[in-house]
Symmetry: D2
Subunit: 302 residues, 4 copies
């Protein structure tokens, strides 16, 4: 069975100035992040602006990512859908394109309940032969899965192998899940742009699955933590968490993330597809100040 661990980068979808997918920039990000040492990629996540991509583009993106990664690390593909049918269909497309695993949030639906969540995951697991990462992201599904439900899905759904948490406070949720998990084996990844990565690791988390534009920092935190050097992990984390915090701003975060990647030379344009917000002058100015300060402090990646 696939083992996911460490830092798994959720890939943005770069666009040209004309709004078309810029596949060369996408390949560049992958190369940059692989060199940085990421342990995997997630395609078609929220960071990928997945909700603004038609099916044909989604398929192309997975194919390009799988081809560029070329087996060096696992590729998780987001296939969340409002219907069980469409979720299965997208998952099969991902499987055919070479995905290593799928990441799935409960379906958005009025009156969703724990039984329909369980049934959704079970039907999916029966239909698609790929490991499943449970995405716990209440704003996407409108539904917050309690630790007991997450664990029940992990135990009763054969393909469920990991949990990705976006339901703050994530460190506490990691602790609560681990407290009832006993001997059940599964991985827990924090999201939230890496803003609580250290605390998630301390609570029993396994790594980060997020779109932060400088995964090098997350990698140093996780690597040092797992090798037992807590002080060094803390050093990287506390020194740079101001960066993660800035990038992780609701509504404008994606535009910031892409601008950082553009400045890092990974992508050619920082545009976000409408109705997503583009970088405004005020946020751009704050980013300048932020990057200048961290550069002065010796951050080697910006």
């Amino acid at each position: 069975m696939l083992k996911l661990e460490g830092v798994i980068s959720v890939l943005p979808t770069p666009f040209t100035a004309g709004g078309q997918i810029d596949f060369e920039s996408l390949r560049n990000i992958i190369r940059l992040f692989l060199e940085a040492g990421v342990n995997g990629f997630t395609a078609l996540g929220v960071t990928s602006e997945v909700s603004r991509l038609p099916e044909s583009e989604k398929k192309q993106i997975v194919e390009v990512v799988v081809s560029e990664v070329n087996g060096r690390v696992p590729v998780v593909v987001g296939t969340t859908a409002e219907g069980t049918h469409t979720c299965i269909e997208s998952s099969r497309v991902a499987a055919a394109a070479g995905a290593s695993a799928i990441m799935v949030s409960p379906p958005r639906m009025p009156k969703l309940n724990s039984h329909s969540v369980m049934r959704h995951y079970k039907t999916l697991s029966d239909a698609v032969d790929l490991p499943i990462v449970l995405q716990d992201y209440p704003p996407v599904s409108g539904y917050a899965m309690e630790p007991s439900l997450l664990l029940q899905v992990i135990r009763e759904v054969p393909n469920a192998i990991a949990i990705k948490l976006e339901d703050a406070p994530t460190p506490l949720k990691v602790a609560r899940i681990r407290a009832i998990a006993e001997t059940t084996a599964f991985a827990i990844f924090g999201g939230l742009g890496g803003t609580y990565l250290l605390e998630e690791l301390l609570a029993g988390g396994d790594g980060a699955m997020t779109g932060f534009a400088i995964p090098e920092i997350l990698i140093e935190v996780v690597r040092n933590f797992h090798s037992g050097d807590l002080e060094k992990a803390k050093g990287f984390f506390f020194r740079y968490v101001g960066l993660m915090r800035f990038e992780f701003q609701e509504g404008i975060g994606m535009a910031i993330r892409k601008e950082i990647l553009r400045r890092r030379g990974a992508i050619s344009a920082a545009g976000v597809r409408p109705p997503g917000a583009s970088l405004d002058a005020s946020t751009a100015r704050a980013l300048d100040e932020l990057l200048a300060w961290y550069r002065k402090e010796g951050c080697p990646w910006i």
Copy 2:
């Protein structure tokens, strides 16, 4: 310019027992409703379980509806999407398939605001040459448009010709919009399963755009109201509104609607795509009692 009026039926998507689209049943519904005298159809609405259909099925459905309707009444097609790009793309598919108009809700997005709503509609109107029905359905978009914003969209977006309201209390919202509309011409349709149709008409509404399984009732209400026979309109409405009310139950309404259509002989199976709820024994029993009572009272359509 297209003029929408009267009762426009939002079409469900019938499925076979195996979960595939049952196009013959879809054609049957159209025939039944055309005979009943509906003034138009809406394909790919919430009632159509649109969120559980892949793009290929959506395209097929529009083609079948347009072909079956064959120009006798207008066909509105729902093309709401989370991205402006994808909304335009779906709208062009609808246009190519022969749609008379599109129905579009604001895009679902964190931190949506009135400016991004306006920009979304304007960009859409510039890109697609089809009349636009504004769908005011807060649970879909997570955003409630105030009367002033709805009117601003109507006035500033060239293709915007009508509003479909699902934001209760709809009669009051109709009145508030009409109170500030002055000489601006546009139609307002109520939704909510027809449960407040009479009150919407009294407040200045033009008709109903909803998925109620017995549009004959809505047609009698609207026709008599518009011909000036308020008492007759009231008679039809108050006598049968218990039916609309029963069908219009959150979470289970779609299953009830399809079961009524099945009993009317229009569709061969009443199944709903998961994770949508199927008809449970308790609701089925209540439906039996309801239909028995209205049949006894002389309702000719059940």
Copy 3:
């Protein structure tokens, strides 16, 4: 132990033109409804505009209600609060004033979960010696209790004796709770203005706890249903459910309810405390048409 049953009217809070509580009108409603045959009252519910009353007025209201009812039927008092402490404090005030039971919704709080809900009810039950009605009203608490949690509270919280449901579809929720309740004894009351009362009874409900301004109709439905005359119950329900439906409009419902009571001669003014919406001309006109029609049809109570 107290046994709640039948139709329990949630009392509005009548105000004078100057916005002060009109206790004489409150007593009038109680007298009118007792003559009509209600089986109990609920004070300080949502219908009572409880969220717009300071503590001193709440205390006065309970005292007046208890004094006017004078032991003839039970008086349930709403004591929902955001803190366990304040909930207990309000419940003790209610107990001291002679309340027969309290009605409590889960506390509104970010990140509420099933454990904190259970702890809230247990602490309350330990601290206050009054039967508890669990109010399942997601818009108040921001939290939907699943059937299994409701049943767990009923079983593990000694004072919990009944459930009041406002989480649509209520008939289905009644059925789901009864399906897992086995031999546990407790009452279930429907709310939602009585709009699904018949279906709730068919599913295993015990009665209605709601603020509908013409409880005579609900009483006929429940009484006939419980005496085995389903046809008569259906007759009253289906003939008049259009009334319940009209009154039960989000945002404006309270103003309608009070206007009906004013027209029935029970209260002297129909004002609602701001920011609650007052009756607008459009809704008033629709009410005129509605009442005229039902009067013509022979409804004896309007």
Copy 4:
């Protein structure tokens, strides 16, 4: 007219182990923060667990705060209420107790709209002779005020003098409000635990109004920023923002905040009133690691 500026600390409500208000600890916090140089206090905010306090305790708290502060800095008092009546009543209690200003969020209510928000503030301003701080905190009111509405309230409501923002991304919202404010004079304070203070200042913010347990840091940021030493402001901010971030965790933040204050010697116990979450072992451990690291880095206040 009162001028609010700089760092205004929102005061927590310390409790004894038995759950009663610990007024001596409350006085201690005020003394500690006055020595630190705060420019004002806010009593009865969300941080004060205001929703879990009965009216009598609220009154006592305001009296103790006003008495301890003794005119040295302004005291803002939160008087948000679901009714206009109760908001006015609470505001008068605050005025009588010596409050310098009131802080008010739109009333929580289904179907709230911009007109009812405006009417609420106008009625309040007419009734109470105290400056008003508009609290823009969507999770409290369920309503997000757009920049244009905030500015309209500032312009049309005589007593409205300042805005407190909690609607992320706050720096962007500051910029948007300033962009349309022209010559209108008013202050904007950021909240969110100070996590975006620097960016808010860069965008045109005036200071912070928040409950962060180490206001010394916020003071250094604001003071240096306003005196023109941006580099020094950045230094304090970026070095310590990891602390603000940790404290500012949804659901558990209040427990962390109090534990830090306990460790600083300001309060005798860190308990939170139920159903608020107490500090769990996992979060406590993370706090240990955090404080140890920042202490080692030379943070003088922990």
